[in-house]
Amino acid sequence: MSASEEQRLEEFARRTRNLLQHSVDHLDGATRSRLTRARYAALEQARAGGALGAVLPQWRRWLPAGAIAATALAVLIVMGQQSHAPALQASANIAGDDMELLADADGLALTQEADEDYDFYEWAVNTAQDGERGEVGS
């Protein structure tokens, strides 16, 4: 950067600084009043916080330990639920199979056909028993 350019930039900086500082020095009364109120409010809130601060830091120091304990408890609960999960899953599968059988029309039809064949099986058994008796009696 040339010396003249540097000088122009320096002059620009000086003028902006003067303008901005002038605006600070001549803030309107309403804004100055609001700033004063804000300052007093901050100091007052801090004093109120200080009164609480005598008590709060005592339990606030326990916050990390409490957070760790709560996290550990949450992990235990989640792990406990996961250990029961296979049994629950198996029960759910069985219940699901039962429902599937009940809802399966083909399975029901096969069962009914098997009922009809019982007459044949009963006759065959009786015939065989009669034959055994005849052989014994003869």
Binding site: F12, R17, L20, Q21, L35, T36, A42, G53
Partner: protein, 208 residues
Amino acid sequence: MNIQAQLLTESAGFAPLEVFALPESTPLESAQLADFLATVERPAFRIAQIALRHDQDALDAVQDAMLRLVRRYAERPAAQWRPLFYRILENCVRDMQRRRRTRNGVMAWLPWRGGGDDEQDEQDLLAQAPDHAPTPAAEAQTAQTLQALERAVAQLPARQRQAFLLRSIEGMDVAATAEAMNCSEGSVKTHYFRALQTLREQLGEYWT
């Protein structure tokens, strides 16, 4: 916990544990702190106002920064208050800018919202421009120039804006600015120089 860690915690919205309570201070120390706040409140307000371009938000930021300083750093040596305060103020300004972006993003979806906020802000700034020039013409010229400068400063990158305002409004030297910005003096010089160059390019018509 060092200052940087405390400020990082603070900007994330959490109070550092060991500095939460307002320290026990003598009336003399309280008066010293109140005096310090009285000296920084006006430049702090202007810095926040130019960055946020909103009076009420600027007041809120200044009050929040005061409160945090008093609550957490009042026990520090008085020489540290100024850089600490302006670092806290910058955190407050950036938090407010983030919240505003979020709020505007949500409000943009509402069909009954008009887009006239920026215009309103411009009108408000014009109406609130300082009125202390000797003649109405000079007064109008000063207001116009100041308004253009504020608009241009608000558009600077955050670090350039911070360096420029701390040096121009608060009158900090490079070392103090570096402490307030938590960076090296070389970085301050770079940010300040780039800010000046950008502003001069944008405001040339008002300054020639």
